[in-house]
Amino acid sequence: MHEFLEAFRFIAHNGAIAGEPGLPTLTHLALETLKVAAIGLGISIAIAVPLGVWLGHLHRGSFAAINLGNIGRALPSLAVLAIGDAFLGLGLTVVELALVVLAVPPIVTNAYLGVDGVDRDLVDAARGMGMSGSEIVTRVELPLAVAPLFAGIRTAAVFVVSTTTIASLAGFSGSLGDVIANETSYHFSGVLGAAICVAALALAVEGVLTLLQRALTPRGLRLVEPEPARVPPAEAALA
């Protein structure tokens, strides 16, 4: 447990190591990690949510939407980053590309399943009330699909934070993973300290997204909604 004490000392010193001047502070690295992850997640949401919602609204492409999620899970972050590195060189662009490749599938699958699974009677009722297609999407289907939609976004967020740190193993510099990948300079206490920060950061991101989800859930649903699904439901992998 001595190592944990040393690790917390490292965190308390904000990543400073005696005899190693010029190292970035932990705060700086944490913010960089968040920035890289946020860009990747933002792009992924911008691509995947409209696509998944659109497919779900039309009840079409279930095979593609569900299998995209399964294939996305099969891609090891390190392999995606390494192959990107081999062909394009590992800069911010390639890291973001890898993040998008890994984050889009779970968001599409869950957005699809969420919207596709909205009670057809409710959609028919909305149509009967004279709502247009886009009104049905924004006022009926999306609010009712908030839980599965966020399940996908949270899964993607975990992938993105995790992959941003793994990018350091492939030689990308600018995340908390830099510390973990550089035991020579930081010693094990630094590596452990950074690992604690990475874990805390991921849990914080998850927590913020959970709060956001709660805020976006319609009040009526909050009363009946069970705990939101964290992993795609069993049926997702059945198809």
Binding site: F4, A79, F87, S162, I166, L169, G177, F188, L192, A237
Partner: protein
């Protein structure tokens, strides 16, 4: 002028100026120039490099999913009987699932050491949320009429569980296994950071060599192929174990 000495010359150049060091005497010009994909390197290094890594990867994943399944099954059966256990189990396993792999491996190295145990504990912890949720969903999905019928036939609680509930929950259980297996195979590439095993080892070597593209593609591709093959095998297993679902579908 040197046309006749072409092959000789290129091998001399290879020896004098290796772009990829430490890749054996058989370095072809493809390897030396780090082309897109050198099939000759793969065939030469399948035995010494790729196969051991692949075998280690399969072992890591099999052990992790096996242990994870036993723990999750026990937890799910208990939570099926005592409902209050579900929430705390979900909370704990969600936290474990959320911690990024690179961090969790290092967090385990401190108390356990940089060995196969740390690797397996981390991998097992990533299977729990997926398997627990799916097994419980499967058990809860058994219609109450079916259970009443089982009771009416004189089955004990244990008999009803093994002969009725678990078989009916199989599709959901296998669905969970598929997600868990594919996830663990992807995560096992990071194991190399704490323990010298799995397909992460050749990926790491290749990254240090330039990066050496052939090895990156071969090892990364093997990891992806392994995940897809395991997934297909589980689909097959489910079809064999639950012939009634096929009868219903046709």
């Amino acid at each position: 002028m040197f046309v006749g000495f072409g092959p000789v010359l290129s091998s001399v150049v290879a020896a004098a100026e290796p772009v990829i060091p430490d890749y054996g005497a058989q370095s072809s010009s493809c390897v030396v120039h780090n082309h897109f994909f050198c099939a000759d390197w793969v065939s030469h290094n399948w035995g010494p490099v790729l196969w051991p890594a692949l075998r280690g990867h399969i072992l890591l994943a099999l052990v992790a999913v096996g242990i994870g399944f036993v723990i999750s099954l026990a937890l799910a059966l208990t939570a099926h009987r005592y409902g209050w256990l579900e929430r705390p189990t979900i909370v704990v396993t969600t936290i474990l699932y959320t911690i990024p792999s690179l961090a969790l491996f290092e967090l385990l190295v401190a108390p356990v050491g940089p060995n196969v145990y740390s690797a397996e504990i981390a991998l097992v912890s990533y299977t729990l949320l997926i398997l627990f949720r799916n097994i419980l969903t499967g058990l809860r999905g058994v219609p109450s009429e079916v259970l009443e019928a089982a009771e009416g036939m004189g089955m004990s609680r244990k008999q009803a569980l093994t002969r009725v509930e678990l078989p009916l929950a199989l599709p959901a259980i296998v669905a969970g296994l598929r997600i868990a297996v594919v996830t663990i195979i992807a995560l096992a590439t990071i194991v190399y950071t704490i323990y010298n095993a799995g397909l992460g080892v050749p990926i790491h070597t290749a990254l240090g060599e330039g990066p050496f593209k052939t090895e990156l593609i071969a090892a990364g591709g093997l990891a992806i192929l392994l995940a897809l093959t395991a997934d297909a095998l589980l689909v097959l297993l489910q079809r064999l174990l639950t012939p009634w679902t096929r009868a219903r579908a046709t």
